[in-house]
């Protein structure tokens, strides 16, 4: 009897220790965030002299923010809306078009559909570095061939994202659609639906969970991506995204850490704020997508 009581007591203590350990680790993990926040409220000299202390004047934060909003080489509003446009358009096109492809690939049981699916899968192993140099060249070639500019345009970037996002999205949709019973679709056909109607009215709403997963997965990738935009848009391009804008600013003002950290904070803030609201979806989307 006594022994059990003792054991409970010790495991009770253990939990406390673990709790303290977890809080400590959390503080370590948050240290960089804290550094960014306190140093984005400092002027140029203050950052260099006292990077670890609290800022003397929080008004410097407002000044830094105002500076970021007006500096031409970061162009915050412009690059923020560019990021929004590119991310949202890509998400929508990747999501809907991949779902369409995956659906016909699942529901058409021929050797062609299997071959095309395998072709998509093969695309998953290709790292971007292998394709990036010919891609830049292709953008130029396409302009020469069709007269439509592709470098530093929205549709150019979005088409590239559609191509690179297709394999994973088709794969995930494929797996999900396979688990949906075909009976509903057949019933709809008998009731007089055309095939496209079946897809858009019946199948697409059922795909919602996997659609959300892919929104998160592709959204995080596209919003934070650097290598593809830097190649097809360029650091100072008119359609530059937020990461490019930050890199551009950091390249221009090498040592002005107060400004750079403010821009970093303003680039990271949208996603972090979104995370506070949609935490469950984001964590679930990012991990379940990877495990499959």
């Amino acid at each position: 009897m006594e022994k059990v009581g003792k054991k409970n007591k010790s495991s009770f203590k253990m939990i406390y220790l673990l709790e303290i350990l977890a809080v400590g680790l959390l503080l370590v993990f948050f240290f960089p965030f804290v550094m960014v926040i306190i140093n984005s409220a400092k002027s140029g000299t203050e950052v260099v002299l006292a990077p670890l202390s609290m800022p003397t004047d929080w008004g410097a934060f407002v000044r830094n923010v105002r500076e970021i909003l007006t500096r031409p080489n970061i162009d915050y509003f412009q690059s923020f809306s560019n990021s929004i446009i590119i991310t949202f358009s890509s998400l929508l096109t990747i999501g809907v078009f991949s779902a369409m492809s995956a659906w016909v690939l699942v529901r058409t049981k021929t050797k062609y559909s299997f071959a095309i699916f395998m072709f998509f899968l093969a695309g998953m192993v290709i790292p971007f570095q292998v394709v990036m140099l010919p891609l830049v060249r292709l953008f130029q070639d396409l302009k020469n061939l069709t007269g439509i500019p592709f470098r530093d345009t929205f549709h150019g970037v979005i088409l590239a994202y559609m191509g690179f996002g297709a394999p994973l999205s088709v794969f995930l949709f494929h797996g999900f659609i396979k688990s949906i019973p075909i009976d509903i679709e057949e019933a709809a056909i008998i009731d007089g639906c055309t095939k496209p109607q079946v897809f858009f009215k019946i199948v697409l709403p059922v795909l919602k969970p996997i659609f959300v997963t892919l929104l998160v997965l592709n959204g995080m990738w596209i919003w934070n991506d650097y290598l593809l935009p830097v190649l097809v848009i360029g650091l100072g391009g008119a359609t530059k995204t937020l990461p490019l804008a930050v890199a551009n600013l950091a390249g221009f003002y090498d040592k002005e850490w107060g400004l750079i950290l403010t821009s970093v904070l303003m680039a990271a803030a949208p996603v972090l704020i979104l995370f506070l609201f949609a935490q469950k979806h984001i964590i679930k989307g990012m991990t379940s997508g990877a495990v499959k």
């Binding site: 709790e19 096109t93 496209p196």
Partner: protein, 383 residues
């Protein structure tokens, strides 16, 4: 003032712009797939003196084999023709852009890797067969990059997985704030690699040097320790993510198994060995695969943290492999393969050579990840 009004007009503007962008994207996709087809058709028409009208089908007049086939399988109202139409049009956007922007560059990349393409001689480059690949084999800097990438990847895989698994064990205990911890550890993963590199460059070079100890002078100044700095940064970013995978696996362990072992008198370490580890083996495979691939492809963080630097001397043993003696050449400490490819192409303008490096990189990545998955699967079965 009219802030709300301003915000609203901004939002509608962005929505309009997204709509227009989508329209333009789709139109240009159609254009780039159909226009080349026309120019090819035109080329053949000129070649065979067929005139410009040769490719317009006149269905009333000539019902050749092609026309009959098309009508039967494409234009008619029969169910199979309908299915064919849906099949092609539904596949068209994603398959088209995938072929155009991934497959075509991949194939043309194989050709370009055997040329002396420099960016200035685009279209006039010479075909060199395997000269670029020969250059790569004898290039000591690429060898060093490769060695650094392997070293970095191995250390990174071990550190990230150990940290992530420990965190996962910690936050699956019966802690009060466990959801807060999980979200907190996960948070760095939301920030892009590039932005994150700037944060840590500041921390290593400005903040931690004032703390002293091992952080003075900055880790990023020395070629050897810069790699450790990079591992710290990437672990901070990635451990929370991998932790989530382990959490999912640990929570899938049947609770009665844990209870049974507790009743049988197993202590925490025995439980970990006999139950937790074997049952999360599959998660290990996934996590190791993910960390391996991301470590190998690491670019963004390096680009902003160290730009591939700092300069350091080539290790003597590696110089020996390449038959060098005496003073070793200066190399870049965190010049990982992805960075090396980028610099070869854009700093030194050797795009052909850079492409060859990229293909070597791809081949190695493919082999390594296949081998890794194979061994992990085998171990999974044994456990």
């Amino acid at each position: 003032m009219h802030f709300a009004c301003l915000l609203e007009s901004g939002a509608t503007m962005i929505f309009k712009k997204i709509g227009l962008t989508l329209l333009y994207t789709f139109l240009s996709l159609i254009a780039i797939i159909i226009l080349p087809f026309f120019s090819v058709a035109k080329f053949f028409a000129n070649r065979f003196n067929l005139g410009n009208n040769a490719f317009i089908f006149d269905f009333e007049k000539k019902r050749g084999i092609v026309a009959t086939f098309l009508i039967k399988h494409w234009f008619s109202d029969s169910e199979s023709a309908q299915n064919n139409r849906v099949f092609v049009w539904f596949l068209f956007p994603s398959l088209g852009s995938f072929i155009l922007f991934v497959f075509v560059p991949f194939i043309s990349g194989m050709y370009l890797s055997m040329t002396n393409w420099t960016g200035l001689n685009t279209g006039r480059e010479l075909f060199l067969w395997f000269d670029n690949y020969r250059t790569i084999i004898t290039d000591v800097r690429f060898g060093y990059s490769f060695y650094r990438t392997v070293l970095y990847s191995v250390l990174n895989i071990v550190v990230i997985n150990v940290v992530a698994f420990s965190l996962a064990l910690l936050v699956t205990q019966n802690l009060k704030l466990k959801n807060v911890y999980r979200a907190g550890f996960f948070m760095p993963n939301l920030i892009g690699g590039l932005v994150l590199g700037y944060i840590w460059q500041f921390i290593f070079n400005r903040a931690l040097v004032q703390v002293g100890g091992i952080f003075t002078p900055s880790l990023l100044i020395n070629g050897e320790s810069a790699l450790i700095g990079l591992i710290i940064v990437v672990t901070w970013q990635y451990a929370g993510y991998i932790m989530m995978i382990y959490i999912a696996a640990i929570q899938n362990i049947p609770q009665d198994l844990v209870e049974a072992s507790t009743i049988d008198g197993a202590n925490a370490i025995q439980r970990l060995k006999a139950i937790t580890l074997p049952l999360v083996a599959q998660a290990f495979t996934v996590a190791m695969f993910l960390t391996l691939v991301t470590s190998f492809k690491q670019f963004d963080t390096v680009a902003s943290l160290t730009q591939g630097g700092p300069a350091t001397q080539l290790p003597t043993w590696l110089g020996g492999v390449y038959g060098l003696s005496g003073d070793m050449p200066i190399v870049q400490g965190t010049n990982l393969v992805a960075m090396n490819i980028y610099q070869e192409a854009f700093s030194r303008n050797n795009l052909g050579l850079g492409q060859a490096k990229a293909i070597v990189f791809f081949a190695i990545l493919l082999v390594v990840s296949l081998v890794q998955v194979y061994f992990n699967k085998k171990r999974e079965v044994e456990l």
